[in-house]
Symmetry: C2
Subunit: 456 residues, 2 copies
């Protein structure tokens, strides 16, 4: 098998691939809408048939308390690694319908793009993998590595049944690495591999002053105000240089290597463009780090919500009994969600004045994940992307925390690599979602090359 | 006329007075309830008839866009001062009805108290004045001073039409002082005169970070968070000693005199009792001042509300575009609401980081009022209270800002003195509102003595 023979196969079948993708996209598998429950089920069955059709050995539709999970495997290479492909066949609701140029479930190819709900999120990206696998099977009669496929139907509703299902099938799902194509390239034409995600600590803090709401005239000046106290505490969580002051917060953080910093710096990013993107007055972050370093490789502390007292129209003179905030920290390698939660609580209790009561509640968190760039899966992805796009792939990180990645990483103990095939302007979750045809076809070659490279 | 003859008259008619008060309290003049609109009107007419009945010269019911105002005057002493009595004949809604021991509009006298909606707020206190005036008229054939009476029917719905009405009748309302009995004594059996109220500056502050809500993973660390920024700004408004840091905030404040501090200190107050009353963990206020000084005679800065970002159940990782707070300052003599508003805005803009946008909105404020204790009206009230209660009256202040007092003070340019006849446990606005019978009768003598003393 050579890259040439794969490319030949793809060239010959390109048109059919698009026709099949359109068929896939026509199924309105809107997981959140009860009226589409049958469509979701039908979509799972369609995926099953399709995978059987391209020659995958074993394909099953697993029921869950919600929508089914399609599980497939083709493990014929006992001496080769096993890779698990995760994706989802459900889609976001298409509303508002009147903003679509062409209907969301009548896919339309124009200007080199295919427009439809799910075009890039995630049907198009998943289907590129299906076609890559087909090309390998049809040109060589085999797959170069062992492949397991998990396609869920509830990603857009929080993957509510996935973790239980994975836990119930750990042996079946055993693998050496996980690959996911459900994200974007850093820029058009710039092949990208995401090898790191930040973790998350999320907590709620309540401060109580008086035992009940008081009149600010009758009591103001002599009774602690929980809003003022909480705000003052929040003010003490960070300093003006953007440093987080929670004791021990930065302990054991693995510093960015000079190679990574150089790699980040080489990417086509400008702060002017970033500021325009967030439509803000100015940027602000930790001193000594660039914007990409701040987003991808430094921990954060953000209040995600705050409330207390009178929040309606007009004026009410109350000293509330309580004030509340929700605080989250994105975490980087070396940090641990539970540990940071403990340190946050200890610090908050330390800085709280003794005339208020502090309640602290920790939400479910997640751990940071960074796959070593020396990892064979990352390297195979890099070589595949270079072959497909004729350009060196950039290794990027994401500042987010994708729960399913942590779920796979934690339970299966396998490195997870994200090969995003979409673009930033694909309008996922919005009207006129699209997938560039170039990205679809390059995605297919990327996929075929990736599995081939993994075997080396 | 002597205090003895007044006392005799009261002793003779005590029973009838109670019967009449019960009649007054039976009218369900709930100003906020449209279904009671006729009752409110009927109550105004009842007051009119009653005032005519006791011999007041001129009594009118003035319509307003809402409920009517009863206006009366008895000005037969051209060489004597004119005092304006303000009160209200409307009452709070009685709900929840099932918590009343006896129905709210079927007044019941038991255990030395009369239970009914409006018993103390404000029908009972107003009626004590009516009976005081009656005693004077019946025993001497005249009133010792000129008396004007303004009884509104919308106090419980924000006195929405009062200011316009006063402005339209400034000449008619000209007076030397205003007396109001719509508050409480400092403690049972301790006659009290309130000679000071704090003013109010109330503003709203909004801080904008990014132009729209952002994902805290994708952007966190590089984009200013408006909640953190606002909280940090709030933290800089005060220091740990309770001092307010707004530039020029304390300029020109008239210091408390040693006499006043001694007077406050002599009152039956304990911080233990106060902490129990507010049901808190601890007290907190400006260093160097007692609780009563902090509440009555020192300016404050309280956040009355704060909101921004995600405030629902659970966790959402958002960097909101905006965060908001409502801040009020109680003001003391020497301070001016508009001036403090300007200083607050200037300080907030000074401490705001340059990477956020600050919007500032000033609400309607109010000026602090302190009547000089040497004022003849205060002194007359003190002498009257001593005669009625056989105990020295205490001069107290209130930390609140009563809009109607500012309205009278501002427009009529007359000192306002509050002679509270109620008690702290009268449960105004709650079920089982009551007025102590002792307070009612002592209130009548207080009133009669007060007008007599004013003439001296």
């Amino acid at each position: 098998m050579s890259t040439d023979s794969i490319q030949d196969y793809l060239d010959q079948h390109q048109e059919r691939f698009m026709t099949e993708l359109i068929e896939f996209l026509k199924i309105p598998s809107v997981s959140t809408a009860p009226e589409h429950a049958e469509d979701v089920q039908r979509c799972a069955e369609w995926v099953k048939s399709h995978l059987i059709g391209i020659g995958i050995d074993k394909v099953e539709v697993h029921p869950t308390p919600g929508h089914p999970i399609v599980y497939a495997e083709h493990c014929t290479q006992p001496d080769k690694p096993t890779v698990l492909l995760y994706g989802h066949y459900d889609v976001q609701p298409p509303e508002p319908l009147d903003e679509w140029v062409t209907p969301p479930f009548e896919p339309d190819v124009r200007d080199g793009k295919i427009f439809a709900r799910g075009a890039t999120d995630d049907k198009g990206q998943v289907f590129a993998h299906f076609k890559g696998l087909e090309a390998l099977l049809k040109t060589t009669g085999e797959l170069p590595v062992n492949v397991k496929i998990v396609l869920e139907g509830e990603e857009e509703v929080g993957s509510v049944n996935l973790e239980n299902w994975i836990n119930a099938h750990v042996d079946m799902l055993t693998c050496d690495s996980v690959v996911i194509s459900d994200s974007s390239m850093f820029a058009p034409g710039l092949p990208s591999i995401t090898y790191g995600l930040r973790g998350l600590m999320y907590c709620e803090v309540s401060v109580t002053g008086p035992g009940h709401d008081l009149h600010s005239g009758m009591y103001g000046g002599a009774v602690p105000n929980p809003i003022n106290a909480l705000a003052t505490m929040i003010g003490k969580l960070t300093d003006e240089s953007g440093k987080i002051l929670v004791d021990g917060f930065y302990d054991n953080i693995e510093p960015l290597t000079e190679e990574e910093r150089a790699q980040f710096a080489s990417l086509p990013h400008t702060d002017e463009g970033f500021l325009k993107e967030v439509n803000g007055v100015g940027l602000h972050g930790e001193d000594g780090f660039t914007t990409l370093e701040r987003i991808w490789a430094r921990p954060t502390l953000d209040c995600n919500g705050i409330y207390g007292g009178f929040t309606g129209e007009g004026a009410k003179t109350v000293i509330p009994s309580k004030a509340h905030t929700k605080i989250s920290c994105r975490l980087v390698p070396g940090q641990n969600s539970a540990d940071i939660g403990k340190k946050m609580e200890a610090y908050l209790r330390k800085i709280a004045p003794d005339y208020v009561k502090v309640d602290f509640h920790l939400h479910h968190g997640g751990e940071p994940i960074v796959v070593n760039l020396d990892n064979p899966t990352v390297q195979a992805a890099q070589r595949a992307l270079k072959q497909a796009w004729d350009k060196d792939a950039v290794a990027i990180r994401s500042g987010g925390s994708i729960p399913v990645v942590a779920t796979f990483g934690d339970i299966l103990n396998a490195p997870v690599v994200l090969i995003g095939l979409g673009l930033a302007d694909d309008r996922l979750h919005s009207p006129n979602e699209k997938f560039d045809v170039t990205n679809f076809y390059h995605g297919i070659t990327t996929s075929a090359y990736f599995y081939s490279e993994l075997a080396k």
